[in-house]
């Protein structure tokens, strides 16, 4: 995290212009932008799970998780779902257009520290929640020998809504990964699982006593997945979730993303489940 206390560093408030190098249509409402700094220079260094504030000039700024490889020198990668006027405008951008970028901000998935060393990893994503986990998965694949069993469980609404389909297929073909995908509903042309993603967690494939779990998706899905992990014996403090709130300043000043005693932009978006579990069921928070 590069936010100084109180967000005093003026550089944190100034969006840098980045040019769109490539646009990839992922799903009907979801797209990936690959960006390069207009001024050239070094790639943006970030940690898996962190986010940038992306500014569509004249329209507004939105927090978007970084979904690229944290150790690669390639473009800055953001997968974005069009859910409002700013992201809708971003969907209409083409290569050569320019966005403002501030960041990276926030906490990260604990995949590079001692906490994860030698552990089984259970990575659970729902819908577009796979995008913030992708950097963690890419990190794990680069350092595969540091981990025990690695399970990737992914749930989507229908087969047509599966994000990073080709990449999931490739990961599934690896002998050292357990990858399972389920959809909430399907028709006859789908030969895979149907059902909610917490059920994949119940199936096992990992040692709960030595598991670190990373969960990202809609909040209800994260709560139920965490409960399924707890029921399997995974410890509360070993479950991490990524929260989404109305982040504006990204440096813990404006309070738009306040979540109990936490600011999601500064203290999150990745939280230990035991730290925020009680807050997740507070009405209106």
């Amino acid at each position: 995290m590069n936010a100084t206390p109180g967000g005093a560093d003026p550089a944190l408030w100034l969006p840098e212009p980045w040019r769109i190098e490539r646009v990839r249509r992922e799903l009907s409402d979801t797209f990936t932008l690959e960006l390069q700094p207009t001024a050239g220079g070094a790639p943006l260094r970030f940690l898996p799970g962190q986010f940038n504030m992306l500014y569509a000039f004249g329209l507004g700024e939105v927090p978007i998780s970084i979904s690229g490889d944290p150790e690669a020198d390639g473009p800055l990668v953001h997968t974005i779902r069009a859910v409002g006027p700013v992201t809708e405008a971003m969907r209409r951008l083409v290569p050569g257009d320019v966005l403002g970028v501030r960041g990276p901000f926030g906490s990260c998935w604990p995949v590079s520290g001692a906490e994860a060393e030698g552990c089984d990893l259970v990575i659970v994503a729902g819908g577009v929640g796979l995008a913030p986990l992708r950097p963690a998965i890419l990190h794990v694949l680069r350092h595969r020998q540091r981990f025990g069993q690695v399970c990737i469980f992914y749930g989507a609404r229908t087969p047509a809504d599966i994000l990073y389909r080709h990449e999931l297929r490739r990961w599934r073909g690896q002998f050292d990964l357990l990858v399972d995908v389920t959809v909430d509903r399907a028709t006859q042309d789908w030969a895979g699982r149907v059902g909610v993603v917490p059920r994949l967690v119940e199936g096992g494939g990992y040692d709960p006593q030595h598991t670190l779990a990373l969960v990202c998706g809609p909040e209800i899905m994260m709560r139920h997945t965490a409960r399924a992990l707890l029921a399997r014996g995974v410890r509360r403090e070993r479950i991490h979730v990524s929260m989404e709130r109305n982040m504006k300043c990204a440096v813990g000043l404006c309070g738009h993303c306040q979540f109990g005693p936490h600011f999601v932009c500064r203290d999150g978006p990745v939280f230990r489940f035991d730290v925020i579990e009680a807050l997740m069921t507070v009405d209106g928070l």
Binding site: V83, T87, G127, A156, T187, P198, M221
Partner: protein, 160 residues
């Protein structure tokens, strides 16, 4: 030498019956037989008499709903270690959905008439079986609620 496992042992090895008293398992096994269902074949159709209770040993089964003018909707899949169906347990003993083998499926099929008679004659067995059914029903109800919530739908009135 090939050892042929008895149905009572198969029942006890299935997660649904795990931990049941061996004599109870043997009593239940008297209603059972091994069945292989080819991929694509129906286990049962909506509206048919629910006269079997299936323990899935291998393969995957889809649970489906039919609606006019639409492709059949698959709303759940069940796999090894799951059970298929509880409509046989309560009147009107009639399936409320379709179940189809998505892959080649091996099941232990328990005859519902036989099993109901045994449960009626042995309340302790009936209680033991219901204690196994309730958590399964609870989990599936919870899953159905989550599906109903349409978690991954595009948020309404998104601001970003």
């Amino acid at each position: 030498m090939v050892e042929i496992a008895g149905l009572d042992r198969m029942l006890l090895e299935h997660p649904f019956f795990a931990g049941m008293a061996p004599e109870q398992a043997a009593f239940v096994a008297g209603c059972g037989r091994n069945v292989v269902v080819e991929a694509g074949a129906w286990l049962f159709r909506e509206g048919e008499a629910a006269d079997q209770f299936y323990l899935l040993r291998h393969g995957r089964v889809t649970l489906e709903l039919r609606a006019p003018g639409r492709e059949p909707l698959i709303f759940d899949t069940l796999g090894e270690g799951d059970i298929v169906g509880w409509s046989w347990l309560l009147p009107p003993f009639c399936w409320s959905m379709d179940a189809r083998a998505q892959t080649l499926v091996r099941v232990v099929a328990l005859d519902a008439h036989c099993l109901r008679d045994k449960l009626d004659s042995d309340p302790a067995l009936g209680y033991a079986l219901l204690r196994r059914f309730v958590p399964v029903m609870g989990r599936r109800l919870q899953a159905a609620r989550l599906q109903l919530a349409d978690l991954y739908a595009r948020p309404q009135g998104g601001r970003g």
